[in-house]
């Protein structure tokens, strides 16, 4: 997995609440057998018009959004299905972190396995960052994983929670399956005890 230490980037503001996984990537794009190339379908039904051209009113299509690595979105982001295609699509587009006041459980877990950092902040910090980004789309936000901090304009600094293991995995690029496989002996002995 790609390592994550520090990220500085301008951000894409998406103030909607409860953005569900069906909006992040509609089900008709789940018919793939690999993980790649989903970035083009990210937010598909909001992003493209009926004729397939870009919807100029959708934030992702604005010039100011291009090259952004941070998405800042409303509460309860990623609710709904367990599709890992959601973080695959977000990462495929170029995002490496999402700032919100809350994330759905499965989405959070899936994101952490794909080098996509969920940054959970309180409502006040969210509001300040969102307003700053909406006011000036070139506003840079810095996310430092080692100190679990997010800094924006006007000296705004906040911390965000992450469990120690997920943090370790992101910092070191730890392969979680490799870690699990290292418990082979204990798993075998557990299986023997139970049968």
């Amino acid at each position: 997995m790609a390592k994550f230490t520090t990220l500085t980037s301008h951000a894409v503001p998406l103030p909607a609440e409860n953005v569900d996984t069906d909006q992040i990537i509609p089900a008709r794009f789940l018919k793939v057998t690999d993980k790649h190339g989903l970035g083009d379908s990210l937010f598909c039904d909001w992003r493209y018009l009926k004729d397939g051209s870009d919807n100029p009113e959708f934030v992702l299509n604005e010039a100011a959004s291009q090259g952004a690595r941070i998405l800042i979105a409303g509460n309860n982001f990623g609710s709904g299905s367990s599709r890992e295609h959601a973080p695959w699509a977000l990462v495929g587009w170029g995002f490496r972190a999402i700032i919100s006041t809350g994330f759905a459980d499965i989405f959070r877990s899936n994101s952490l396995k794909n080098g996509l950092l969920p940054v959970e902040v309180n409502a006040e910090v969210y509001k300040a960052l969102m307003e700053a980004v909406q006011r000036d789309r070139s506003t840079k936000i810095t996310i430092e994983l080692p100190t679990q901090s997010v800094t924006g304009v006007d000296g705004l600094e906040a911390t965000f929670p992450i469990d120690a293991f997920s943090k370790h995995c992101l910092l070191e690029g730890v392969d979680q399956l490799g870690y699990l496989l290292s418990f082979d002996e204990q798993i075998t002995s557990y299986e023997q005890q139970r049968t």
Partner: protein, 469 residues
């Protein structure tokens, strides 16, 4: 020993390793697989040269993109076909049992797990599908996982998990006629919202839950995820054992008795505490319906939709207004009488025999309103057979509904069964997200009774107006 909750007991029983500051290595007793969320996991195994550690604890089915037309009319698009073929190849190569399209045991993953008896009390069960919470109805700890985790479980039969908090949802009292399990869970979603259960495992308790049959309990646990909780659980009891007894994959003979003895211990001890409790008075529940674009945007069917000023903060108001815009509805208006185009009766939430009997009770001797397309999609071939043995298929067909082959169908609209842009549907499925049932489609979630009643009148209808007439 300290009193423990049902969740704590199942959790404790499956911890293989718990190191400080690390997630637990949790043993998984059963992994269910389907075509959509598994291909990349098998690819991962191949790339690492790994095997499936316990094919005997792994079962696969095809359900999401399978056609529901009769076999002679099967049309599958190339991508779906490739995905189904891939599943078949993967299962063959890795020795995983597969109930493929055409197999008499095929059906929706969360329907056939319990039906065949794979689902049992006290098990840990996962699937790359958020509605895995369904299996918690049996006192299993069951939750949806992403594809990376599907690979983890295939390779190690374990998952790295941090323990969730516990939320008791207690329902005492008696449901009024016309009020069903679906209305219970829609009422909970409306009460706590789609993020209300985030971080929690729910245990449903109380007399109204005890009085539900297994199918009703599955409906309730199925939509726990719509309230944000990864898992919902109900302690097993005589109703559970009665349902399971004699099914294909449950223990038989003396082993059965021993299992029941063991399973009977799976209940929250007196004195055990939950991190949070929500109490709902079952006597007060009414048939529920959603009006918006997430399952938390629901109300009693006779109510009027809210107005923007009834929401506390600006972003909730914005979300509400966006939903109203998508749905093409006017705030503050009632939903009763709203004209509809489609009725869908099916999905892992409401496609079991009890659901079909409920719907058939409403359809019997009546006709679907002109211009309303009505799909009835059983959850499995077993259910289809049972329904046909009872003559339910004839009731549906006589009423003018389409009686289809099993599958997820219009719940997720991957198989060609979908709403057209702008159409309104009353659906017994679990999600009313924008575009969920087809791009531009508009969904009202409700019970099979409400869906059937609405099909008859062509409008959103309180089923009690037909049941009591």
């Amino acid at each position: 020993m300290k009193p423990r909750t049902l969740f704590q007991k199942v959790w404790d029983d499956h911890v293989v390793v718990q190191e400080p500051d690390r997630p637990a290595v949790l043993y998984i007793d059963l992994q269910l697989i389907h075509e959509v969320t598994s291909p990349q996991a098998f690819t991962g195994l191949r790339e690492r040269g790994l095997k499936v550690r316990r094919p005997d604890k792994t079962v696969a089915t095809m359900d999401h993109s399978t056609p529901t037309l009769p076999k002679s009319l099967w049309v599958i698009d190339d991508q779906s076909k490739a995905q189904l073929d891939q599943l078949e190849t993967n299962c063959k190569e890795f020795g995983v049992e597969l109930f493929a399209l055409g197999d008499s045991r095929n059906g929706i993953v969360h329907v056939i797990g319990p039906e065949r008896g794979f689902t049992q009390p006290g098990k840990t069960i996962v699937c790359g599908d958020s509605h895995t919470s369904t299996h918690g109805a049996f006192g299993a700890l069951a939750f949806g996982i992403g594809t990376s985790e599907v690979e983890h479980v295939l390779a190690t039969q374990c998952l790295l998990q941090r323990k969730a908090k516990t939320l008791e949802v207690r329902l005492d009292g008696q449901l009024m006629p016309g009020v069903t399990a679906k209305d219970i869970i829609l009422a909970l979603c409306a009460e706590i919202g789609t993020g209300g259960g985030t971080g929690y495992v729910i245990e449903f308790t109380g007399s109204a839950i005890r009085n539900l049959d297994m199918e009703g309990r599955m409906t309730v646990c199925n939509m726990s995820i719509e309230a944000g909780a990864r898992a919902g659980m109900i302690a097993p009891d005589e109703t559970t054992f009665e349902y399971l007894k004699g099914r294909d994959r449950v223990p038989q003979g003396a082993d059965w008795d021993a299992a029941v003895e063991r399973w009977s211990q799976l209940r929250t001890d007196e004195g055990a505490t939950f991190d949070k409790t929500v109490v709902i008075d079952a006597n007060q529940l009414e048939p529920m319906i959603t009006y918006g674009t997430n399952p938390g945007m629901g109300m009693q069917i006779g109510e009027s939709m809210p107005t923007a000023d009834s929401f506390e903060n600006a972003s909730q108001r914005a979300a509400f207004e966006k939903a109203m815009g998508y749905m093409g509805l006017r705030p503050g208006q009632p939903l009763l009488g709203q004209k509809i185009d489609v009725v869908f009766i099916g999905s892992c939430t409401n496609s079991r025999i009890g659901d079909l009997r409920m719907a058939a009770g409403v359809f019997s001797g009546r006709k679907v309103a002109e211009g309303v397309r009505t799909l009835v999609v059983p959850g499995s071939h077993d259910i289809k057979k049972q329904a046909e043995a009872e003559g339910l298929d004839e009731i549906f067909k006589d009423a003018g509904a389409e009686w289809r082959e099993p599958g997820c169908s219009m719940c997720i609209a991957m198989n060609g069964d979908n709403l057209e842009p702008g159409q309104y549907a009353v659906s017994t499925s679990n999600r009313n997200f924008e575009g969920r049932q087809g791009k531009g489609g508009r969904t009202f979630l409700a019970s099979p009774l409400t869906a059937a009643a609405s099909a008859i009148t062509g409008k959103v209808t309180d089923p009690r107006s037909l049941l009591l007439s």
